[in-house]
């Protein structure tokens, strides 16, 4: 009975009612792909679901793995800094450990988003080339699915952040969490997601033609982690660098995003405003050029991948 109704629906919108469309309409700014990707959102969900399912197939502790990575990372750096005598804050009180932990954890979680999305998205097209050469679908969905997975990891990881920040704030009324400010962490996160989106547009399509990208990426990511305030606070940056260098340092969108998030959640100092603007400009350039490039590469992708 259900199937009969479906057949009826199908007939009411047969091909004759649909418009005649030529492939490859002019799309110089790559905006058509966004419409196309939106139309394919169900497929994106399927890819995302597939990535999650595969990740936890035949895995014993399952989703706990998402928590282990930032947790262990935070602990290791915390211990490292403790033994090296290079604590984040200057306060000797035992509570400052919690504050150090939350500084590192925020950095870790944000960095994990960048690291995982770039790492997985770069290979996403190449790993799926047997499908890309056999059927057409909005190819942007593949790197986007990797980005969604990384975002999922971050959202799960936030479970860790709540107790850590709670402990770090109760002892220090002057650095306590202010709820109105925490809301600013969301635009910082959204910005970081947009930045990752621009980066994966470039990386995934470049990797489709030049496999070097995949080889160079782990190295670049490693350097990027130390060039961004992941395991150290912005205070150190402000202390160590001259104002000009501070701006250049903050032009790195990852640095600015993490800086803003820490300011929002912990009340840490903000990155210089000029640096933030510069980083925002770079992000816009990255995303727009990424869209144009992805659109171009889409045309030869099945031939050269």
């Amino acid at each position: 009975m259900v199937t009969n109704r479906v057949a009826g629906d199908e007939k009411s919108e047969t091909a004759s009612t649909r418009p005649f469309i030529y492939y490859g309409q002019p799309d110089p700014f790559g905006m058509g792909q966004i419409r196309e990707a939106w139309a394919g959102r169900e497929l994106l969900l399927s890819f995302f679901q597939r990535d999650l399912l595969i990740r936890y197939r035949q895995v014993f502790v399952g989703v706990v793995w998402v928590l282990v990575q930032p947790l262990l990372g935070t602990l290791i750096f915390l211990m490292l800094f403790h033994f090296l005598g290079a604590d984040q804050g200057t306060n000797e009180a035992p509570r400052s450990r919690w504050r150090d932990a939350s500084v590192i954890l925020i950095g870790m979680l944000f960095w994990q988003l960048v690291n995982n999305s770039l790492r997985d998205a770069t290979g996403s097209l190449v790993n799926y080339r047997h499908v890309i050469t056999k059927i057409y679908f909005p190819r942007m969905l593949l790197p986007l699915s990797s980005l969604l997975c990384a975002l999922f990891d971050l959202l799960v990881g936030l479970i860790l952040l709540v107790p850590v920040v709670w402990f770090s704030s109760t002892g220090f009324s002057n650095t306590g969490v202010e709820w109105w400010r925490v809301l600013f962490a969301l635009p910082a996160l959204a910005w970081l997601v947009v930045f990752c989106f621009g980066a994966i547009l470039w990386l995934s399509s470049l990797n489709a033609q030049y496999r070097d990208v995949g080889y160079a990426l782990p190295f670049v990511l490693q350097i990027g982690m130390f060039l961004s305030p992941v395991v150290y606070g912005y205070e150190r940056v402000l202390k160590a660098l001259s104002p000009t260098w501070q701006i250049l340092y903050s032009a790195n969108p990852v640095a600015s995003c993490i800086g803003i998030a820490r300011w929002a959640i912990l009340g840490a100092p903000l990155p210089p405003l000029l640096g933030i603007l510069f980083a925002g400009f770079l992000t816009v350039v990255l995303v727009l050029s990424g869209l144009v490039w992805f659109q171009r590469s889409n045309q030869w992708m099945a031939d050269r991948i």
Partner: protein, 434 residues
Amino acid sequence: MMEAIHADRISKRFRLGTLGEHQRLTEALSKSVRRWISRSGSTTSETKEFWALKEVNFRIAQGEVVGIIGHNGAGKSTLLKILSRIVTPTSGRVGVRGRVGSLLEVGTGFHPELTGRENIFLNGAILGMKRSEIRQRFDQIVAFAEVEKFLDTPVKRYSSGMTVRLGFSVAAHMEPDVLIIDEVLSVGDQAFQNRCMGKASELGSQGRTILVVSHNLAAISNICTRAMLLDHGTISIDGTPQQAIERYLQGMRADTGIAQWDSTSAPGSNEIQLRSVAVRNTGTERATNSVAIDQPIRIEITYDVLQDQIVNAVQIHLKDENGVFILSSGNAPSMSLSADPTFGTPIRRGTYTTTCELPANFLNDSRYVVSVLLGPELGKPSVACESVLAFSVTDTGAMRKEFLGSWYGPVIRPRLGWETHKIENEDDERHKQR
């Protein structure tokens, strides 16, 4: 009549050499620097160009079932890939009306770790179905594929037959306005192929536009309302299936009895490449497309083994002009008169020739089409070359001493044992009755 597909002067150029290789970034940079330094168009001569399609032009009306035939390398697959938007043409454009479903491979995007149920949703989504559509047709898909019991088993534990059935079943239920089908129907067993063909003609009768590439001429003439013959990237005939098939076979008739490839165009994998297939009468050196009926026929398959330790099995399929499958044989001990020692044993790199000998006085005087399959096992070919070669068996008179007409009808014409015995003497019987 409403137009469903319009191919507007599409051409596709491939650059030989760089095609398929993954260019390194440094090479691309150094090349562009060199180009910039020389500032002349001299680099264009560096790579050889190859036009897979040249100015292909046609319109297909809604509801037509169009078959595309042609030799290997005629551009059929490229055409389908352009029509299904996978590949962008070098020039020209393609327009379609409505939803396009392309089925160039069965089970595209199946993930071995996922269960049958999960793969139905994933594969359906890749094919362009909405979740709600898949949910509504889920039971039909499962029933058609006959995998009810294994729905929650990972696909990696499926047999290859089950995987193919599931893949086709999902695709068969996508109900697009335009359906593009490649050689997919040549996988699976005969019963499955028949079912696929049935499904295809059912979709055609529902008023959907279908484009199908196949070497199965019988299927083309059965389900198609129109057929196109592609020859070296151009359409050489566009008409009824009978016209196209006739011309296709005529083209083969001009063959010299040998099909050869050079190393760049040879069909094959990274392990094995087919170099030539030849037909000759036993005892003669020259390949011929016309063999004598009273002589044994030798089909010689020459191939390069590109890696050491390859296990290879050679198989031929013989079909007649109407696509009727006459025989399938391989170099396995169970199928040959004397065991072939290379069967099932790893062989070293090099060029090999495997010969199959058909007995004399076996085939009728008609035309036959040879397909060659190479692969690690019989039935699991890694290289399948459909209809590589045609030859005709001519009656030299050795078998028609008594009868001068044509032996129309039968496919084979072996000399069989015939004897007549006298059981009782008629005279004796008459004597008894008296």
